[in-house]
């Protein structure tokens, strides 16, 4: 039992904008009232936000764990987490250990995170890592856009069966949503190729194009009534001139929902690295007019990062461009992954454009309910640097100071210097919590109404957005005080959300046969047992298309 009094509440889902009111908590939920005698937190001169929700991050799984092994030099330089009586030891940095990940997110006021890229083949592994990621609630998206079983069916025009296979895979892997990464491109990478054109057949196929995959998968997600739409990483990530691919893709998605992941990496003009420029205005114009879409920023900050993505061919290109280490792991019949350490430099024109594009999208997309704060951690920057971005969004003068540090030549390629919008606290609450929770279809998250999960971040009033959001005064997770003034107070494990869409049970016989031909493990050992998903909570597949 807990009563938080005197704080200014920001609860955009209920239109509450800085109103002083009590928040009461009982059994992990927000309730109307608690009896006298409940513990009281005096939050006067504090801001009360719903706990942060990260809609797109890479914090667990085979790819991230590969990156940890590949970059011991980063770990050595990163923040250390000491073993204490209550907390586990670990390492922060670009690829934090699982325990550190939980502490870092909670320490920043984030209470729900979505691991955005999970293959079925190693889903067991991802769930093991998430089990060791304390405090926060979790969910996973399953990599399906290069799944050869699905692509082979689309080639034969067997849409219904492709839908059943997708639904079976979601149930087998115990995940929450579907992710599409470079549709067709990762499958082509298995032969060292890529898929750069939306209407060209994918290498090895006659009919299936990236376009076919994108539109069919979006439809499948909607017809399966998944709470979260197809989560899409478009083709041609990071490549100058990719704005045309992105616009073409978005047009193909009309009539369906889709979440456009890390849109920053897909909003470039020009046609080579020397004339690359921002196309955020084009993208934002289209996006603003199409409410079927949501997106996350995938913003870039200067400094060290590690790029980790299922987009194998892009990572090979990045390896050739940078000459740095390269990790690659192709996953049979399903997907791939690539890892290249990367340093974003303010003095580099390409990096300067990337930095600007992320902020431009956040400022030019006018509905904060449809764009969310991410850095595609650890690709654009580490998640624990989100407060730096919030500060730039809230303070146009500070932002302009940063723009003036860019090389002169960058200014003609970006729009950031022409934008004076500033985010309000209310909008920040949408950007970091209410918006992503709604896009994920998590009805119990991202708000402070009665019945919501009691996930709450309480901040000391400060003018500086970075300082304000970096150090919450209190963080409450599931009704328990998890963090107080930077100290971890409780490390109770969070839940993991999964869905179980409906499929025709006959599909299992079909899959078993294909599986024995194409895979190397036993079909019966492939699905993840429910008891391996710690704190599993089933969410409904009840999405209704609004007419």
């Amino acid at each position: 039992m807990l009563r938080i009094t005197g704080g200014k509440v920001y609860d955009p889902a209920h239109g509450v904008n800085g109103v002083v009111k009590d928040i009461c908590i009982l059994d992990g939920k927000i309730v109307a009232d608690v009896p006298a005698g409940a513990r009281i937190i005096n939050a006067s001169s504090m801001f009360i936000f719903p706990g942060g929700v990260d809609i797109h991050t890479h914090v667990a799984g085979a790819a991230l764990n590969f990156a940890r092994a590949l970059t011991p030099e980063n770990q050595r330089a990163a923040a250390k987490f000491l073993h204490t009586a209550d907390t586990r030891l670990g390492i922060g940095g670009a690829t934090p250990t699982t325990f550190a990940t939980g502490y870092l997110y909670a320490g920043m006021g984030y209470t729900t995170v979505v691991e955005a890229a999970v293959p079925v083949l190693s889903a067991k592994h991802t769930h093991e890592e998430l089990r060791d990621t304390p405090i926060v609630d979790k969910a996973c998206c399953l990599l399906m856009a290069n799944n050869e079983l699905v692509m082979d069916l689309l080639e034969k025009g067997e849409y219904e069966r492709a839908k059943d296979v997708t639904a079976w895979m979601i149930s087998a892997a115990k995940v929450y949503g579907v992710k599409a990464v470079n549709p067709g491109g990762v499958a082509a990478w298995k032969w060292g190729k890529n898929a750069n054109h939306m209407h060209e057949a994918v290498s090895g196929y006659n009919k299936v194009t990236p376009g076919t995959i994108v539109s069919n998968l979006a439809r499948i997600c909607d017809e399966l009534k998944l709470p979260h739409p197809m989560h899409l990483h478009c083709n041609n990530l990071g490549i100058p001139g990719n704005v045309s691919t992105t616009l073409e893709t978005m047009k193909m998605l009309e009539g369906n929902r889709a979440h456009m992941a890390h849109l920053q990496f897909h909003s470039y003009g020009g046609d080579d690295w020397h004339n690359m420029r921002s196309e955020s205005v084009h993208i934002a114009d289209y996006f603003n007019a199409h409410p079927n879409l949501t997106c996350d920023a995938g913003a870039v900050l200067f400094g060290n990062a590690v790029t980790i993505t299922a987009d194998g061919p892009w990572q090979h290109l990045l390896y050739q461009l940078t000459g740095r280490k390269w990790g690659n792991l192709d996953v049979e019949n399903e997907t791939g992954c690539g890892i290249v350490p990367y340093t974003y430099k303010g003095s580099n024109l390409v990096n300067a454009v990337q930095w600007a594009v992320g902020l431009e999208l956040l400022l030019l997309i006018d509905d904060p309910w449809r764009i969310f704060l991410t850095t595609d951690h650890p690709n654009g920057a580490c998640f624990w640097r989100y407060p730096e971005i919030i500060h730039m969004l809230m303070n146009a003068d500070f932002r302009m100071e940063q723009v003036r540090k860019l090389p002169e030549a960058a200014l003609s390629r970006i729009f950031l210097d022409e934008i004076d919008r500033e985010y309000s606290l209310y909008e920040v609450a949408i950007l970091t919590s209410a918006g992503p929770a709604r896009a994920l279809g998590m009805k119990q998250k991202g708000h402070l109404g009665i019945g919501a999960d009691a996930d709450i971040a309480i901040y000391n009033e400060k003018a500086d957005g970075e300082l304000l959001f970096r150090y919450p005064r209190y963080v409450i997770k599931g009704g328990e005080l998890a963090v107080e003034e930077g100290d971890i107070k409780s490390t109770r494990d969070g839940h993991e959300f999964v869905v179980q869409p409906h499929y025709n049970p006959d599909i299992e016989g079909y899959l078993r046969e294909k599986f024995e031909e194409q895979y190397t493990m036993s079909f019966d050992n492939y699905p993840v047992d429910a008891e391996r998903v710690h704190g599993m909570q089933m969410a409904d597949c009840s999405y209704q298309k609004t007419p």
């Binding site: 011991p72 770990q75 073993h83 792991l329």
Partner: protein
């Protein structure tokens, strides 16, 4: 330079038309590698199976695996690094000194033929064993072969994978990475993870006698370590968890019998390509599992006064 370009074994089964084994003897050490994952399998894109694939074996001696190979390249002992260097140069079209090639025990034409095949194939894979990674050059050899595979991707699809020996050594790498950030040899003495192979690796610690107690599980170092290392295990209190009374048990202070992994204890093991697999035990053991015993040791440790970094009680004070 550096990194690791790899895949899961099903990719090899479905696509690989050039399979190179280097410093390993799968016929005797990984008997089903050929039949379940590589040369003998009919794959999605290699429907003809064995006929659709070329196997090259590089080793210092003729092993049982030679019979399976289309091409056997016998490298002189300790010349793997030199041979790999020559291949990397030839792949890039750089001049190579024939005298240096001769020192590897191979002819220029043989290496050129290998390079041509590597560039010509659609999907090439190199499996490397302890004959490469644990002989002269050690991790330098591994780095060299992984770099070769990475660089080959400028020409065609190419990957490399170590042939992991022990059943779940891959799992140990995985668990240590997500919990401590490092894959092996992790020092937690200061209350946070530190990694420095050569300083914190077992052989070095044991041979130098740096440690003052040892818990051994899933291994029998008493049978395999250099003598000074075994002396250390005998000198300090060593504790062994094992299904059998091992050599190490015989020189230890404490031995606890545990149920055998996968036969009586359930859980997870990782394949050499880091794919997790469930274990399905067939027998009910009268002994507890390693997991259970370690948990009970943790509980016993937690009953003692808490140790926090910087405030560790001296050994003499505790007694």
């Amino acid at each position: 330079m550096g990194g690791k370009v790899s895949c899961t074994l099903g990719e090899v089964k479905n696509r690989a038309d050039l399979i190179i084994y280097w410093g390993g003897n799968p016929a005797e050490c990984h008997p089903r590698h050929f039949t379940k994952y590589t040369i003998m399998q009919k794959g999605k894109f290699i429907p003809e199976g064995r006929k659709g694939r070329t196997m090259v074996l590089v080793d210092i001696r003729e092993t049982m695996s030679v019979k399976a190979a289309d091409i056997f390249l016998q490298v002189r002992p300790s010349k793997d690094f030199e041979m790999l260097s020559a291949i990397r140069a030839m792949v890039k079209g750089q001049p190579v000194d024939p005298v240096l090639v001769e020192e590897t025990g191979l002819k220029m034409e043989q290496l050129q033929d290998l390079v041509d095949r590597m560039k010509r194939c659609k999907f090439g894979v190199i499996f490397f064993g302890m004959g490469l990674s644990m002989t002269r050059g050690k991790h330098m050899n591994s780095a060299q072969i992984l770099t070769l595979a990475a660089e080959m991707n400028a020409f065609t699809k190419f990957v490399a994978m170590p042939m992991r020996g022990h059943g779940n050594v891959a799992g140990a790498d995985m668990v240590l990475r997500w919990t401590t950030g490092y894959p092996f040899g992790v020092n937690l003495c200061r209350g946070f993870p530190r990694f420095n192979p050569g300083e914190f690796s077992t052989v070095d610690l044991l041979v130098r006698g740096d440690i003052d107690a040892c818990l051994v599980l899933g291994a029998d170092p008493g049978a395999t370590m250099p003598q000074p290392g075994i002396d250390t295990l005998r000198r300090v209190p060593t504790i062994v968890l094992d299904p059998k009374v091992t050599y190490t048990s015989q020189i230890s202070r404490v031995h606890i019998t545990t149920s055998p992994t996968g036969i009586s204890s359930p859980g997870t093991a990782y394949r050499m390509d880091e794919v997790p697999l469930p274990l399905r035990p067939a027998l009910k053991s009268p002994y507890p599992s390693d997991e259970e015993v370690v948990k009970r040791i943790i509980q016993a440790v937690l009953r003692k006064p808490a140790w926090l970094p910087g405030s560790k009680v001296a050994a003499s004070d505790v007694a």
